[in-house]
Structure formats: C-alpha cells, structure tokens
Symmetry: C2
Subunit: 494 residues, 2 copies
C-alpha cells in the first residue's frame, strides 16, 4: 500500500522518525517504535515509526515525516511511498548484551556506532547504550574499539606530515584560552597542528567562540587541510566538520542526566584526535576542588588511562596536570579572551602573565614530546621574536579574518565594576560563579559580553578596589547581572 508524504515541519535533531495514522498502523500491524522500510523508487531507508494519537496529526493514508527522513530519502510533500515492516537494527541485541554486563567485540561495537552515526537508533535505544556503558564500565579494549569506530564512521583528515600535533584541555576553567596561543607557537616551530575546537555549551566561551571574534571558523575538511598544509596550523570549529559524529550524539544523551562515563570521555576525546590523524597529543587536566577534575588523585588516574589508551592507539600522549583552582587569564567571554590572546602574542604589557606562563609550559612539553631540541628556548624565541604573532596573523587571514589588532576588538558598551567590600587577600575565586556571571552578562552569544578580572588568588586588595569589571551589550543584561550578584560575586577576600 502507498502512503502520501506529509511534511511535519519538525526536525528530531537526529533519529529518523515517521508518523503513521493509527488505523494504518493497525492495518500493517506496526507498533509504536517499530522499524519500517520506507521506499520511494529505488531509494529505501529504514526508520522508526511513531503512531499518531489523532487523525489531525496524520490522516489515514498519509505518512508524517520529520525533516531528517525527508532529507535522507529526498522526498517532497505529497510524494507517494510504500512501507513494509523491518527488523530492528542489529545493534539492539548488542546493546542488550552490554546492559546484561557482557563484553562487546569489535563487530558489535562497530555495528552500534554505525547505527548511531546513521541515526538508526531512537533516543531511548541510544540512552540504553550510554547507560549500559556507564554501569557496566567498558574495558580498555572496548574503549579502544569504540574510539576507532567513532573516528572511522565519520570524516577523517589525512595529512602527509609527521608529526601531527594535537592538544586538548579538559574544560571548566574560565579564561584558559591556551589553544589560541599554542597553535601559532607550534605552527611557527614548523610542526603541523590541525586543531579543531568546540563551542561553549555551559561555559562563557569555547575556543571556537573566541576564534570567531577574529576569523571564520566553519570550513569543509578539504579547505582545512589546505590551510594546514600551507600554514602548519588552523583553529576551526569541530562542529562544522563531520568528525566522529556518533560521539556528539552520545554526549547529548549523557548531558540529559549529567553523567560522565570515564571510558566514554576518553573515547570521545581520542576519537576526535584520531580523526585528524594526530600522532603527538598534549592533554591538559586542570585539577582543583573548584574544577571538573576535583582532586589530584582523580587527575592522576585519568592521566594513566589517557596514556594507556594513547599507547594502544600508537600515539605519543603527554598529560600535564595543571592548577584548576581559579580562572586563567583576565578576560572571560569571547571578545575579552580574544583580546588577551592577541595582547599575549603581541607581547603587550597588558597581557595576562598566568596564561602566558601556562602556554609556555604546554608549548615546551609539546615540542619535547616531538623530540625538538631546547624546547623551552625555542618557545620563548618564537614568542618574543613576534613569530608566533605573525603566524597567528597568517592563520587568521587564511581563515578569512581581518582582526589582528587587540585594541580594535569590540568589547560590550555597558560596564559594571565589582569592588571589594574589605581589605585583605583574595583567597579563592569560584570558577562556576564567575562563569555564571559572564553568561548572564550575555557570553558567549553576545561576543563582547563577559568579565575582566583585575585580581587573582593571593593578590592583595583594598576595600573599594575593583575585583573585576562586567561587560554587556545591553543595559538589561547589566541589570540581570546586578540581580545575580546579590547572591555572591565568587570572590573570597580575607
């Protein structure tokens, strides 16, 4: 029997779903969440069927389609399609197996990742997989297989270069824009560093948001390759590429419950690195009671696991545990962080020295990992000679940007200073409260919004002295911030 396509005008954001009228579903003996094969000419795709609860949604003889299915089958409204009942995806059995606490082999994990990548699983099925891997922790072997499978079922970047450098910071520390300093240093040292970064999800700025202040960040993978082949480095948004797409879908489901399966975290980070063929990877784990990794013991365990998985993937991995107890750099928010970065690269006196110090350590360790002699001297020379800044200019130009002068970066017009209510020493700065205030001010959506810190931990401060300034792009946002500040400003002065 033929059904007439009805465009539901909604995207599911992933899973391929069609909606059947209840009477048609009974006729075909199709149940809610059964799989059906939808056929139009020679095109055929297996999708999940939902049953409409009212004929108003999908009339008898019609088939409601979400955007993903219309796109996948290249269908238009009123097209006629035929449907037949299909088997469940193979991976359902394997997910059940993992949920039962058994180990999965290569073929099984590969099938699951394929089905995730191609939107063959419903949200509920994908959730079962994530829950299974969370409660029945994946072995190192399973994690490796998962990592490779996620990378393979996506685009990959092959570079005819060696070594290929990559870098990752575990997030959660406001400021901390090391990537944008590290990439030009490494590239200026003559090494390839095809860096992909993410946008912020819950922080005031991701590296991608910050780079976007200076240049374009979305490129097809071919163009990214050209830039790296010519200039050694790039800083592009990973979301514009199709690297390990299964990973993004898994992360979305994890976020639902706020769980962070460690095996999943490892696989997630390493899959993206594997996709761009990195050979040498530097990983920065900021640890501190105030950050994502809350203790040194936890950081050491994570370090060990990163090194183990790196070894099995035949990559040189160096993990550095850094101080995650307070924000790093002065600017927080895309424009303010971009300005810090350019000040730093231009050796401007206003540059944040804590960020500089950290970047020099990371860059030195990176060159050391790649067997470059006198790495620290080299890093200092590249930075102080202006070669790092020149490389950054090249990269910004290659990424179709025009902003090279930090003082031309537009910061929010509305400003509010937060001052100390007493004399003393700054004992603590809360990463989460500072992030929250910057977000309420409008970051990262309002590029010019955020915070500029005048004080860090251990600095002396007088009563009435400025702790930080808040920038926003509207008066309303400043008022929101003032409201939020009543609960606290994140500083402990004693």
């Amino acid at each position: 029997m033929k059904l007439k396509v009805k465009d539901m005008d909604i995207a599911t954001g992933g899973p391929l779903v069609v909606i059947l009228n209840e009477d048609d579903a009974i006729k075909f003996d199709i149940h809610h969440m059964d799989r059906v094969k939808v056929k139009k000419g020679k095109k055929i795709d297996t999708v999940v069927a939902a049953i409409a609860t009212s004929a108003r949604t999908v009339p008898k003889g019609s088939i409601g389609m979400y955007e993903e299915v219309l796109k996948s089958l290249k269908l238009k409204p009123k097209d006629k399609v035929s449907i037949i009942l299909a088997r469940k995806p193979l991976s359902i059995e394997f997910i059940k197996k993992k949920l039962d606490g058994r180990r999965l082999n290569k073929r099984e994990i590969d099938q699951i990742v394929w089905d995730i990548t191609h939107n063959k699983l419903s949200n509920s099925e994908l959730t079962y997989f994530v829950a299974a891997c969370y409660t029945n922790i994946m072995s190192a072997r399973e994690t490796i297989i998962l990592t490779k499978a996620m990378a393979r079922h996506g685009d990959t970047l092959k570079l005819d270069r060696h070594p290929v450098i990559d870098k990752h910071s575990i997030g959660g520390i406001p400021g901390n824009r090391t990537t944008m300093v590290l990439v030009p240093i490494i590239a200026a040292a003559g090494l390839a560093i095809p860096k992909t970064s993410s946008r912020s999800i819950t922080s005031p700025a991701g590296t991608a948001d910050t780079m976007e202040v200076l240049a374009k960040i979305s490129f097809p993978i071919k163009k990214m390759k050209q830039i790296v082949m010519k200039y050694n480095g790039c800083i592009v948004w990973g979301g514009s590429l199709n690297l390990a797409p299964a990973d993004d879908k898994i992360i979305n489901v994890e976020r639902t419950l706020g769980i962070d399966a460690e095996s999943q975290l490892l696989a997630s980070i390493m899959a993206k690195k594997h996709s761009v063929s990195s050979t040498h990877i530097i990983i920065d784990i900021p640890a501190g009671s105030n950050s994502k990794v809350s203790s040194r013991a936890e950081a050491l365990r994570l370090k060990k696991n990163f090194e183990e998985i790196g070894k099995k993937l035949r990559k040189h991995v160096k993990v550095i545990i850094t101080d995650g107890s307070q924000p790093i750099g002065n600017g927080i928010g895309p424009a303010l962080e971009a300005r810090d970065v350019l000040w730093l690269l231009r050796r401007d006196l206003r540059r944040p020295l804590d960020l500089e110090k950290k970047c020099i350590i990371l860059a030195t360790e990176t060159l050391k990992l790649a067997n470059i002699k006198s790495p620290r001297e080299k890093v200092l020379e590249i930075l102080n000679s202006g070669r790092a800044y020149n490389k950054m200019k090249e990269i910004i130009k290659a990424q179709q940007g025009k902003v090279f002068n930090p003082d031309k970066i537009k910061i929010g017009n509305f400003k509010y200073n937060v001052r100390s209510s007493r004399n003393g020493i700054v004992r603590k700065i809360s990463n989460s409260i500072i992030s929250k205030i910057a977000r309420i001010a409008g970051a990262p959506a309002n590029k010019g919004a955020g915070i500029y810190l005048f004080k860090h931990v251990n600095n002396k401060v007088k009563k009435g002295e400025k702790l930080f300034a808040i920038y926003a792009e509207s008066k309303v946002k400043i008022n929101f911030v003032k409201e939020a500040l009543k609960i606290g400003n994140g500083f402990v002065v004693k």
Copy 2:
C-alpha cells in the same frame, strides 16, 4: 519576555515538550532538553524545552507546543505565555543514584514515580531509570515501594468488601481465555472480583479485546465500582482507567529494547492489583519451552518472588504453574475466543475441554485461597447449574452488551483450512507461529479474524485431515496468510 503559542499538531505520547526558536533559546540561555516554566495567567507548568533547528518550525518569538502541553496548560494557538528557566526535576539525581548502583529510599522512588506519572521526564531520562533498575536489580524492599508508589499515583478503587479477588496470567499462550470463565464463577460464588484486563499488544487477542465482542469495556472507575457492588464482578479494559499510569510508561520504554526486568514485572502486575484493593490474588504462570517463562526452574523462582512481594503487601497470593507448551482452547482471536467462552459457560458440547479443565483448577484454587469450603464441588456446581452463565449474562448486560448467544457471534466470512501433510501424532504446536498466523489473518483489529484449532498435542491425525481453520474478514488477508504458511504452520506431526 512573552512568546506566542504555536500548535505543532503532534502528540509526544507522554512527555511535556515545547519547542523554542534557536535565537530565543540563546537569549534565555536555554539548552536542548533544559526545563522551563511556562506561565499563562495563574497557570504554570514545568516542561522540557527542545530547540528548533529551523525558523520554519518555530519562528522567533513563538513557542511550539505538543498536544500534551496545550492540554495541560489549557492553551490555544496565538496565546501569549512567559517562560523562565527551571530546575531539573528532583528525580534526575535519584535516577543517577540508582544508575550508580545505590539503593533508593521511599522518598526517592516516590518522587521518580510522581515525575513519571506527570510526564515530567523526557524519554531519555525515563530510559535511564529503566536501565538502572535493570542492571542494578531492585531489592525486594525497593520493589514494594515502587509497587505502592505506582498504585498511589493513579486512580484507586476502594471496595467495601472482603475478600476482593484478583487474577493474573503471564501472557504468551494463544487462546487461554481463563479470565472470562473465572470471573463469572467467582462472582456467582458471592465473592467480589473487580477485574481489569489489557488489550493485546503482540498477541492475537487480549481479554479486553475478547470481552469487547460481547460488551462495552471502557468505563469510568465510578461506574466500574457500581457494577462490582451490584454483580460482584466485571471485566473491563484497564487502559480506560487511570490505574498505576507510571507502569504503562515504564513498560513502553522496556519494550524498546525488549527487556523484561523481573523486579519491574512483579511491580507492574502487583501495582495494578494494589490499585483495585485486591486481597486475594491467583497468578497463573504458563511454563514451557514454547512460552514466555521457558523452564520450570524459572517459573518456580518467579513464583517465590510473587509470593514474597504478596506477603509484604499483606495480600494472599497463590501462584499456579501451568502447562504453557501449546495453545489453550480452540478459538484464537477475539470473536473465536469469545465463542469458546460462551460455549463453555453454556455447557455446549462444542466447548474446549482443555480450557474448561484449566479454569476449574484456577477457580478451585481461588475459592480455596478465600477459605471457601469444598471449593471444587462448588465450582462444578456453579458451572453445571448454569449459574456461571447467568452471572456472565448479568455482567454483559451491566457492561451494556447484548451478545449472549455464542452462535450469534460474527466470525470472519473468509475461511481457509490447513490440513496435515501426513499421518501421525501431533507432537508440537508453536505458540508463536499460531499467534503470528492469527495476527496476519487480522486479529485482534478484525474481531472475527483468527484461528480455530481442530487438533491439540498428542491427537492422532490423518493425512489430509484438518489441523485448523483460518478466518479472516477479507480475501486479501487470506492471501497474506497463505503466503505466510509457506514458511510453516506451527504443527509438528510425526
């Protein structure tokens, strides 16, 4: 800020979901699957927010609403509502706790069940809960708490009677329509039996589908109570009542992966019984390689668990393990099974003796459980005197039905006989193949469709003799069946 309501014209089938335009979401700092409070006048409700991927779906300044939200907040298209970011439901933390392998207490389980009942959890969150209870098996204590919570957060039937009888059969055996024989016997014996039954999901007929051939099955709980107070018994569709609604939602999610958490199964069955205040419950577990409970050992374990939970709920529970190796009764499909039942109650010579024998055993055990003297004699007297049939007539009338004569039941007009290809003895009949054939013939949606068995296991059969007849309401369906029969008819004759 105010947003304009847009009716998406779709039901989610549960979760309360709204859709925001991407720009508005950024403005409010709301992420996919965050909670928001939607407010219209004094009405306020917390819902899950999805983000539209195109402005075509939800334009800026609008808020897309699924049917459930429109209904819950009594909203019309173009109404203006305000939204603010809300906290996640409390139960998210408790679900995470269970996923981490820890025990849940009464307050925590209660909160989860409340949130499930009121559609406060997304599908993914609910899936996490089901997965958590599956991998980190619930203790007996947790199961009891869950059972009571599911019953409490739904409608309940309070009867001023004692004892209150109930009955449950684990499904999977075609035919096996014991409820419709048992209820009139027990009611005729003077005991209250407020029976709720389900419709078929994957079988050719549920008790509700079969009773619907004779009478109405959807009643408000008040009317159900009146019927039971007057006639001692009823056979109504549980789906028309709001008994333990959280249970139905959990079962839906279990079905996704085809998992059957035993603690969940126990809680599910007992919650429905608890909702109607049953005091004495008879449970029939058909066991056999061919049925849901595949071994006697498994049946015994299940029996023990049912008895334990029954004891803790202060109910008298008797579990009977029966033969689940083949279909029971001759008719399979709503009309054919209803005819079997009425033939049986009217002592017609055409009645199925295997079903009769099983019903007599179940009824006897039920009366024994309720401390009635000479239970077997009493059951036989009620059946043979016609009192059971008269009671069934009363119940049918009370449920606004008019069909009392089995020979007036309309069976499908199209018939096809399946014959033995050899002489021999019937060694095996496959429950699943017989079910499948009956469903392909149109059962349960086509009431008159199904199968009538002429032979059971251990019967002698000659080559060319009829094994069973297939009934359908259209020629097309008969052709479908003929096609399916090429793979096998479910009979092993040797």
